[in-house]
């Protein structure tokens, strides 16, 4: 059974000068344990689709189903807290919290006490290749690749089984990009996560189990 479904999703928004039909009838089912890549040219609607999947917005038409229930019928804050994790190109860490605090933060939102969160946080940081020497550092003291790994560790500490990544390697060099992708790939294949990555890098997209090609807001073969 699919974990996340886009059912005939349309998204129209009013820009400053025109009405934009950003997503046109996308119909697709995402399953756990698979690695998906959404590719397409700039402005084709990749990020819009991702934000709809993340529950940051609602489709104008159609619906996003998680566990069989539409995001429109769910508390979307709760959906983002429990069901999906988002990893962005710009890492989006809290600049004034240490690595450890950044990863702990979403656990606190779920009601876990800081002292109870420590073990899980350390496990996830180790899983993404960051040892204890990084724990007390602020994000600004890390490289781009390291920051992105912290962001992935933060995504992992939630119980969400869906990881949505928006150009996660956009600011990384080739070596770090491969490292991050292999990490995401491993999470999908070995730990059963449904990993959906938006990227414009076709070479990296080829590593995905399934590639969704977007053109002008619609899926193409």
């Amino acid at each position: 059974m699919s974990l996340l479904q886009a059912q005939n999703v349309h998204y129209i928004y009013q820009s400053k000068y025109q009405t934009v039909h950003a997503i046109k009838g996308i119909h697709f089912a995402f399953e756990g344990g698979r690695f998906y890549a959404i590719v397409g040219k700039s402005g084709c609607g990749k990020t819009t689709l991702l934000s709809l999947l993340a529950g940051l917005d609602l489709p104008t038409e159609g619906q996003i189903l998680y566990d069989g229930k539409s995001t429109a019928e769910r508390n979307r804050d709760h959906y983002r807290l429990r069901a999906v994790s988002l990893v962005c190109q710009n890492y989006n860490l809290f600049p004034l919290l240490t690595v450890e605090e950044n990863v702990t933060y979403p656990m606190l939102l779920r009601g876990v006490k800081p002292e109870q969160a420590g073990k899980t946080v350390r496990e996830k940081l180790t899983a993404v290749g960051l040892d204890s020497s990084y724990y007390k550092r602020l994000p600004a003291m890390l490289s781009g690749g390291e920051q992105q790994r912290v962001a992935i560790a933060r995504a992992l500490v939630s119980d969400a089984k869906i990881i949505l990544a928006d150009e996660p390697t956009g600011n990384l060099d080739t070596e770090n990009s491969e490292l991050v992708f292999s990490l995401l790939q491993r999470l999908a294949h070995e730990e059963g996560y449904c990993v959906i990555v938006v990227t414009h890098d076709l070479a990296i997209a080829d590593m995905a189990d399934e590639v969704l090609r977007l053109k002008d807001g619609a899926l193409v073969d």
Binding site: S51, D57, L81, L86, N90, E101, L108, L109, G111, K113
Partner: protein, 419 residues
């Protein structure tokens, strides 16, 4: 709210921003705690002005032949009103009398009171004659010795009968103060003929007064002086006697001149209202003067100043709300990316707003506490819980508006455009 300690850590790591909030609210606290004492100083100055500047006035009969300015009932009302610290009143009617020498020449030395009265009645028809030696003029009545400037002027020269003094005018005994030139000594009894115009008729009657004191020389203002209450009783007695003789007329007792000092200047409006309602102000036959010009010229600017200060108090609280909104907006604007990440991680707008507000509240509380403590330590202000609470509320209210506006972020736009 379990994540608040982390929000708080982020806030504390923004030392400049924290310092800005703390110092601003600290300054606001010192100022707002000092402000009431400023108002109090001006209020005290106003009170001192009201208490320190005497306001006097008068109610006078306008015109020569006019009726008394103040009726007996109104006079009693003025006395019992409590509005006045000093109330001097005078009335008068015409009298005729004969010096003691002339009266004794007619009645014989050592004559009895009755013989003297008979001699007085005998002499009266010849009063108008040039060689009669009669004396006449207004019999003045005062409610107190101080009511007559002329008596006050000669007070040290007055010879008093034993047991009598200036206070005799405050009572209702049938006494008088006359000129030594009439020849009477303190303790003697003087017969008078009262001549009162009642309507168009001249009514006359004889009465006798005991000499309580004599003054040297002559005072042109009056022939003799008697207590005001005595005059009132004399009026009542005369009217009663006339009615017994079948004459129905009323010799109306009234006050021709009243001089007063206002007891509490704050009640000036009440006094003016009372005088207007009693028909004293705006009347053609009565002249009312209240000399409050100096008070008005002194207290007016202070009152205006006080009103401005009190009015500004509310304005300053609004300013604190605006300050809260402005500072919070500046701080929150820079934190939009943080709010976007919080939203991304599943926090609701309400949760973020409450955390941001709590953060601002705690910082403001610190600032206000420090301000109150600093002011108290420097002995420039007194702690006032209500003012401190108001500052906290106003600042937090302003901050709430700013935070609510800022938290409405376009999450995806910010997440993508961060760099």
């Amino acid at each position: 709210m379990k994540s608040f300690p982390y929000i708080w850590r982020m806030a504390l790591r923004r030392k400049g921003a924290c310092l800005l909030v703390v110092l601003s609210t600290m300054a606001a606290a010192v100022f707002m705690l000092f402000y009431p004492s400023l108002i109090e100083t001006v209020r005290t100055e106003l009170e001192e002005t009201y208490d320190g500047i005497p306001v006097t006035g008068s109610i006078l009969t306008a015109g020569v032949d006019s009726a008394p300015a103040v009726s007996d009932s109104l006079w009693r009302e003025l006395q019992s009103s409590g509005y006045f610290s000093e109330l001097y009143a005078s009335s008068h009617f015409g009298v005729r009398a004969f010096p003691k020498g002339i009266l004794e020449a007619k009645a014989g030395a050592g004559a009895s009171e009755q013989d003297r009265l008979t001699a007085f009645q005998t002499l009266l028809p010849r009063f108008e004659a040039e060689d009669s030696g009669g004396v006449g003029g207004p019999m003045m009545a005062y409610n107190t010795f101080q009511a007559s400037d002329e008596l006050v002027r000669v007070r040290d020269s007055i010879r008093w009968m034993d047991g009598y003094g200036e206070s005799c005018l405050e009572g209702s005994e049938r006494v008088c103060i006359v000129s030594e030139s009439w020849g009477y000594r303190p303790g003697d009894t003087v017969p008078f003929l009262a001549r009162v115009l009642v309507g168009r008729s001249l009514v006359e009657g004889i009465f006798r007064l005991k000499v309580a004191g004599t003054y040297p020389g002559k005072i042109t203002e009056f022939a003799s002086v008697m207590p005001l209450k005595t005059m009132e009783e004399l009026t009542v007695a005369a009217n009663t006697a006339q009615r017994q003789h079948g004459n129905y007329f009323a010799w109306t007792f009234g006050i021709y001149e009243v001089y007063f000092t206002v007891k509490d200047n704050r009640e000036l409006d009440g006094i003016k209202t009372m005088m207007t309602e009693r028909g004293l102000r705006g009347s053609d036959t009565v002249r009312v003067r209240i000399d409050d010009r100096i008070l008005k010229e002194t207290a007016g600017p202070i009152e205006s100043n006080l009103a401005q200060l009190e009015g500004s108090y509310l304005f300053f609280f609004l300013t604190i709300a605006v300050l809260g909104a402005f500072i919070s907006f500046l701080l929150a604007r820079d934190r939009k990316p943080e709010y976007a990440v919080m939203r991304m991680l599943g926090e609701s707008r309400l949760q973020i707003t409450l955390k941001a507000l709590l953060e601002q509240f705690v910082l403001c509380l610190a600032g206000v506490s420090l301000g109150a403590a600093a002011g108290h330590f420097m002995e420039v202000v007194r702690f006032d819980g209500v003012v401190c609470t108001m500052i906290l509320l106003c600042y937090t209210l302003g901050a709430a508006v700013a935070v609510m506006l800022t938290v409405r972020v376009g999450v995806m736009d910010i997440l993508r455009d961060k760099e």
